[in-house]
């Protein structure tokens, strides 16, 4: 920890680099050596089921949790462990929990968080007013936060995270409980900010349509990063293996039968159609197998398909190791 220690310098296109992040709680390994880069000015989506280590990773990257091992570098050379204070002053964070003071007015909340980030009063007032106008909540500035609707609170919380104009924004399930229209508005703004200011965004979400809009995605499962890439690249990994046939008269019997087939990785119902994922390189065999049900055609995979396939692949690998 000497001052002369050489600072790792990132390539200019990379804003944040996480290297071998590990976090243990007692003997439980919540995050098991996660490494990834977040490109500058892009929206990076972090996907994974509850308890997969997503939030723990974010908490480490915000400086809330000290990693058991590994490190993260961002802001052109700051280390999250060494420069925690400066690191925190340059990031914005909005969590899945509604984290404003419910008993203060909207303006009081924003003034408080602004002051905490060291903003002086004329500048702070301008920023509050402009963010409120931008996010359409000027009307509720004098209201007590508790009385706002979920969608409104979420906009205020976003404003609170943006007041100090952070270069890096963490959004931990930001749209939970918000209606589709509200989600739309929210995402439009995030993209605008990323494009306008070159702000880098890391977001976690359960909504696949939201994930679809991210520039880069990373899947995390049981504390391991199992895949990453652009939505397009990720889908490409499955695109010639996903087959679709009409469900037929007894779809459930057909499904049960298909699920036992070693040629297939997975089978499921999608409306009136049956979808089957062939194991890599066995698409032709799968087509033959599905022939009695009708002509199989290649389907466009959704991110959900990718996600399920990745999770299943991992579970099977584990079973093999155990056997």
């Amino acid at each position: 920890m000497t001052a002369a220690a050489p600072r790792p310098v990132l390539p200019p296109e990379i804003f944040l680099r996480a290297e071998g992040l590990v976090r243990k709680f007692g003997s439980f390994v919540a995050v098991n050596g996660v490494t990834f880069d977040i490109p500058r000015g892009k929206v990076f989506g972090f996907l994974g089921p509850n308890g997969s280590g997503k939030s723990t990773t974010i908490r480490m990257l915000t400086g809330l949790l000290v990693p058991t091992a590994g490190t993260a570098t961002a802001f052109g050379g700051l280390d999250v462990r060494r420069d925690t204070e400066r690191w925190k002053s340059r990031l914005g964070y909005m969590s899945q929990k509604f984290s404003l003071y419910h008993d203060l007015s909207v303006r009081e909340n924003l003034e408080f968080f602004g002051t905490v980030y060291g903003l002086g009063s004329p500048q702070l007032r301008d920023r509050i007013d402009s963010l409120a106008a931008r996010l359409h909540f000027t009307r509720v500035l004098p209201e007590i936060t508790d009385s706002l609707s979920t969608g409104m609170r979420q906009r205020v919380a976003l404003a609170a995270a943006l007041l100090h104009e952070p270069e890096l924004l963490f959004l931990d399930e930001p749209t939970g409980g918000v209606d589709p229209r509200g989600r739309r508005l929210f995402w439009d703004l995030i993209y605008e900010l990323a494009a306008e200011r070159g702000m880098t965004v890391l977001v976690t979400t359960h909504y696949m349509d939201e994930a679809e809009q991210c520039d880069t995605l990373a899947f995390i499962l049981e504390g391991n990063l199992i895949a990453s890439g652009s939505p397009h690249d990720l889908k490409a990994s499955l695109c010639d293996r996903l087959l679709e046939v009409p469900a037929g008269a007894d779809p459930f019997a057909a499904l049960a039968r298909l699920r036992r087939e070693p040629v297939l990785e997975d089978a499921y119902l999608m409306g009136l159609r049956l979808r089957a994922v062939a194991r890599p390189g066995r698409t032709a065999e799968a087509r033959t197998l599905l022939a009695p049900l009708g002509a199989a055609r290649e389907a466009e995979p959704s991110l959900e398909d990718i996600f399920v396939s990745l999770a299943r692949g991992r579970a099977e690998k584990k079973e093999k190791v155990a056997a």
Partner: protein, 371 residues
């Protein structure tokens, strides 16, 4: 510093919205001072007394008159049999019965022992022992007068002239003794609970986490939480001191500055306990319930109402672990006896030691649980 100020301001803004809590902070000290100051009285007078006078003579009436003149006994009825005595006491219509022997008057004149019987409802031990000692005193006084006359004692004073002077509380008022100690109880009552709840609420709401991703340091978070409660503590302390001085007319014999100094140390200890509690409690409800866990021993084992000397050894040992014990000893010393902190160095050292220990423990645990 600017951040600390923002945190403090925020805390007061929140408090201002919570009008019920604000009222409680003012009303609880006032109500408790009133209740404890007016209602608690160890000096029980006008005990309901029933008389069964078998003698019905001048002498027996003299004994009854002496008893009532003491103000401690008030005759509520005369009965004609022991069965009636029993019935009156059983029913709770009287708590003392005086039975005077048929031969009482004759014995007084003969110069043989004159017999009377005092029955006391001893279920309430405090009242009973007081009645017994007062009655014993009256009979002793009568006996001494009789003997002195017989022996030809010419002096005004009795053969052994022991004078008693009740210092520090010459009127022997219970309120004078109780109210200074009340300062400790009220500070404990409000501050532990409010601090614990304020911190737990922030954790429950997720605002604590939100604060922790800002550049605010842990120390600033802790100080920002505690500072408003220090002010509230000082406010309550002042409120009780004013009520004590001007409503209950308890003079402050010692230094007010030293009283506040000791008060600040105790406030720090109580806030530390509140913080410690916030690291254990998961919800505000638990925080509230846990604060009662502290409150009970603070009230009953601090020497506030029940004298520590009267406790069994085991409980006496426990009292050493209760910071309120030392603080109560200090305030009583300053307010009632006019002692200086230098004279009270022992409880002061113990209180300070405890405070440092509690605060250190609270800060370490706070850091750990919020990591």
């Amino acid at each position: 510093m600017k951040r600390l100020l923002a945190l403090t301001r925020k805390e007061f803004l929140q408090l201002r919205r919570d009008t019920i809590s604000v009222r409680m902070m003012v009303m609880v000290p006032i109500m408790q001072t009133m209740i404890f100051g007016y209602a608690i009285n160890y000096d029980v007078k006008h005990l309901k007394t029933v008389v069964y006078d078998e003698c019905l003579s001048f002498d027996s009436r003299e004994l009854v008159a002496k008893m009532t003149a003491s103000d401690y006994f008030e005759v509520v009825g005369n009965v004609r049999s022991l069965a009636e005595v029993r019935q009156t006491l059983d029913a709770g219509h009287a708590s003392v019965a005086l039975v005077i022997d048929r031969e009482y008057g004759k014995a007084r004149h003969r110069g043989t022992p004159a017999r009377a019987l005092l029955i006391v409802n001893a279920s309430d031990t405090t009242t009973a022992s007081q009645a017994m000692s007062i009655a014993g005193g009256i009979s002793n006084q009568l006996s001494v007068q009789t003997l002195a006359k017989k022996a030809g004692w010419k002096e005004k004073a009795p053969p052994i002239d022991l004078r008693v002077r009740p210092w520090y509380n010459p009127d022997m008022r219970t309120a004078t003794f109780i109210i200074p100690g009340l300062i400790a109880i009220i500070l404990t009552f409000t501050l532990i609970q409010y601090t614990a709840m304020a911190i737990v609420r922030e954790r429950e709401r997720g605002t604590l986490e939100q604060l922790q991703v800002t550049p605010v340091t842990r120390l600033e978070i802790i100080l920002g939480k505690i500072f408003p409660f220090v002010l509230i503590g000082i406010f309550q302390l002042t409120l009780i001191v004013l009520l004590m001085r001007f409503l209950f007319h308890v003079p402050i014999a010692g230094s007010v500055v030293q009283l506040y100094l000791a008060g600040l140390i105790f406030i720090a200890a109580v806030l530390g306990l509140g913080m410690l509690l916030s690291t254990i409690a998961k919800t505000q409800m638990q925080a509230m319930q846990l604060s009662f866990l502290f409150l009970l021993p603070f009230v009953f084992l601090s020497g506030y109402v029940f004298p520590i000397d009267g406790m069994p050894l085991f409980f006496q040992l426990i009292t050493y672990a209760i910071p309120a014990r030392y603080f109560i000893a200090i305030i009583r010393g300053i307010v009632l006896r006019g002692a200086s902190l230098a004279q009270l160095w022992e409880p002061l050292a113990a209180l300070t030691g405890f405070t440092v220990l509690i605060v250190a423990l609270a800060v370490t645990r706070f850091k750990k649980t919020n990591d």
